[in-house]
Symmetry: C2
């Protein structure tokens, strides 16, 4: 078998990406038809059911598979406007208080500390452009935030995907 195919040496990465060809096929199979069971997987992959089960368990254990949570579409939920907001924060007390403030706002779907002139990059959604202003006001209401620079996403060219990385 081609176990540990990649096993790359990638700087400070602590989890090795030990994904072999069977794991990849398993993942792609589950991505295609998430509702099928382990038995069906083993049949399609041409392996014993125990093998499929073991592979699945290990993928979850390693953190490669984070789970099978329902994917929700913000647009269908009424949040048709998406934007990226770059925040500049006061460096005094670190970013944790600001991160806590952001986490309490449901419209903030994601946040990262970043390099460059900004300090934080957030992905936010709103029900309309007018509503976007409300969300931004809510964001900048925190003392720790100096400036917010907003970029609106017009059209989604590539929807979020990870699968191509699997090969």
């Amino acid at each position: 078998m081609l176990r540990r195919l990649f096993a790359v040496y990638a700087g400070t990465v602590d989890k090795l990406s030990s994904i072999d060809e069977l794991d990849a096929r398993l993942i792609k199979l589950l991505a295609d038809e998430p509702r099928i069971g382990v038995l069906e997987c083993s049949r399609r992959l041409g392996v014993a059911r125990g093998t499929a089960q073991a592979r699945l368990d290990k993928l979850i254990e390693r953190g490669v598979l984070r789970g099978f949570g329902p994917e929700l579409d913000p647009v269908a939920l009424g949040y048709g406007v998406m934007a990226f907001v770059t925040l500049e924060i006061r460096q005094r007390r670190g970013h944790q208080p600001v991160a806590d403030h952001l986490a309490a706002i449901p419209e903030i779907l994601e946040a990262h500390t970043i390099t460059g002139t900004g300090d934080l990059m957030c992905r936010i959604v709103a029900r309309s452009n007018a509503d976007l202003q409300r969300v931004i006001d809510q964001i900048v209401s925190d003392e720790g935030i100096v400036r917010a620079s907003t970029i609106i996403a017009l059209e989604e060219q590539i929807h979020y995907r990870v699968l191509p990385l699997v090969g």
Copy 2:
């Protein structure tokens, strides 16, 4: 019942966000324990199985629930570096050729056309900072791209989430 609780009027939104309280409870239940079946859902929600099934089907039909695909962690796959890349493109032939070029690069996890000085915002990953250069080179190899400005994500403050929008 409190059906059509939100039913907001949100500009050019064509899909009404008709999520009632039962739908919300169902979604949150599935988010908590994705592996449970429809029968188990119906028991926990205190409704008939057919009801739970019908609600689930309709949520999928409306596009609110995009599916139950496996969530993959790029970090565990060996892609420990994440970055946001803003692209400036030649406006001559539109962005479609560029979008096609980007779609062929697996490390590009997402792409949107945007407002502001840039034209496209991409989320990319790489195995290391050195590898990031390779990915960027691959991106800018397209004729249609004039400039790429990269911002590296240092730490994930808020992991991607949509659930808070459900209430």
